[in-house]
Amino acid sequence: MKSLLLFVVISSLGFAQGRAVDLIERLNRMSPTERRRVLDRMPPARRQLLENRINNFNKIGPEARQKLRKDYEYFQQLSPEKQDEARKTLRQIADLPEDRRQAVRGTINHLRQQPPELRQRRMTSKGFEQRFSEDERKLVRDAVALLPDPATPQD
C-alpha cells in the first residue's frame, strides 16, 4: 500500500526530473519485502516520519497538487545557489509570528499572480510600506523574485 501511495504521489505530481524522484520510483519498483528491508534500516521514528510526510501529500486536493507540481518543477530549474536562497527565505517566513507569517504569505501569493509591472508598483506603494516592516518587505520581495508563479507570464 505504501508503494501505491508513493506511486500516486509521484504520478499525480508528475515529476519528470530530479534524482530524488528517481529514488522514489525505485522504491516503488521493489517488492514490499525489499522495500520494508530498505526502510527498516532507518530508525523507526524517521521511517515513520517519512511515511507520514508522503501520506500527507495524498491528502492534498488535486488543484493544490497541480499548483504544487508547477511550483516544484520551477524550483528545480533554479541554480543550486538560488534554491538555497529560496529555502532560506521560506524558512525565515516560516519563523515569523503567525499573524505576520500569514500576512506575508498572503501578500506573496497575491503578488505572484500579478504581471511584473503591476507587481513592482505594488511593492513600491505606500500601502506596502505601511503594511510591513523593512525585514518583511525584503522577505516578500525576495520570495516573489525567486519564486514567481509559474502560471503567470514573467517577461
Binding site: 510526510r53 488543484e63 499548483k67 504569505r105 497575491h110 511593492m123 506603494s125 505601511q130
Partner: protein
C-alpha cells in the same frame, strides 16, 4: 487658494496616486501639486486613512469544506442528468471521491506488472543508501516549504492584500 484641478480630475489623480497606478511622470506632477495645494493634500491624507482602514477589513477564509460541498452538488446534478451507463464508463480523474478507485486500479496494474523477487531486485534494495533516503527527505522539505507558501491562511487569520 483654490485648487486648479476640477473635481473629476482631482478624484482620478487621487485614486491613482493612492493605489500607485499613475504613470511616473503624472505621479511626480501630482506630488508637486499637493505640496502647494492644501485641499488636495488633505484629501490624500484622508484617502490614505481610508485605504488603511479598508485594508483592515479582513474577510474570513472559506470553510475547509467548501470545495467538497461544491463538488458534491456538481456530482449530484450530473447524476440527475447522466444516463446510467455513462456513470460506469466515466472515470473522473482528480475528484477526491474517486481517488480510492484510481488507487485500486493502479494497485491492480502494479500487482500484475511487478517484477518477481530476483537477485536484481535484491541488489536494487541494497543500492539505496542512507544518503539517497536523505535526498528524498530533502526533496520533501522543499515540497513542503512550497506547499506552506501556497497554503491559504488558516482559519484564525486572513489573507492580507496590499
Amino acid at each position: 487658494m483654490d485648487c486648479i484641478l476640477n473635481k473629476n480630475e482631482r478624484e482620478e489623480l487621487l485614486l491613482g496616486y493612492c493605489t500607485a497606478t499613475l504613470e511616473l511622470d503624472t505621479t511626480r506632477t501630482f506630488e508637486r501639486h499637493i505640496q502647494t495645494c492644501e485641499h488636495c493634500r488633505e484629501l490624500v491624507e484622508m484617502q490614505s486613512v481610508l485605504d488603511q482602514t479598508m485594508l483592515d477589513w479582513q474577510a474570513p477564509e472559506p470553510d475547509a469544506d467548501f470545495d467538497r460541498r461544491l463538488f458534491a452538488k456538481i456530482r449530484w446534478e450530473q447524476e440527475q442528468t447522466q444516463p446510467w451507463w455513462r456513470e460506469y464508463l466515466t472515470f473522473q480523474l482528480g475528484w477526491k471521491p474517486l481517488i480510492p478507485i484510481a488507487l485500486a486500479s493502479i494497485a491492480l496494474v502494479v500487482f500484475l506488472t511487478r517484477p518477481f523477487e530476483t537477485a536484481d531486485s535484491n541488489r536494487q534494495a541494497e543500492a539505496i543508501r542512507a544518503e539517497e533516503i536523505e535526498q528524498v527527505e530533502r526533496a520533501l522539505d522543499d515540497i513542503e516549504a512550497l506547499q506552506a507558501l501556497n497554503q491559504q491562511a488558516v482559519v484564525e487569520g486572513a489573507k492580507e492584500k496590499l
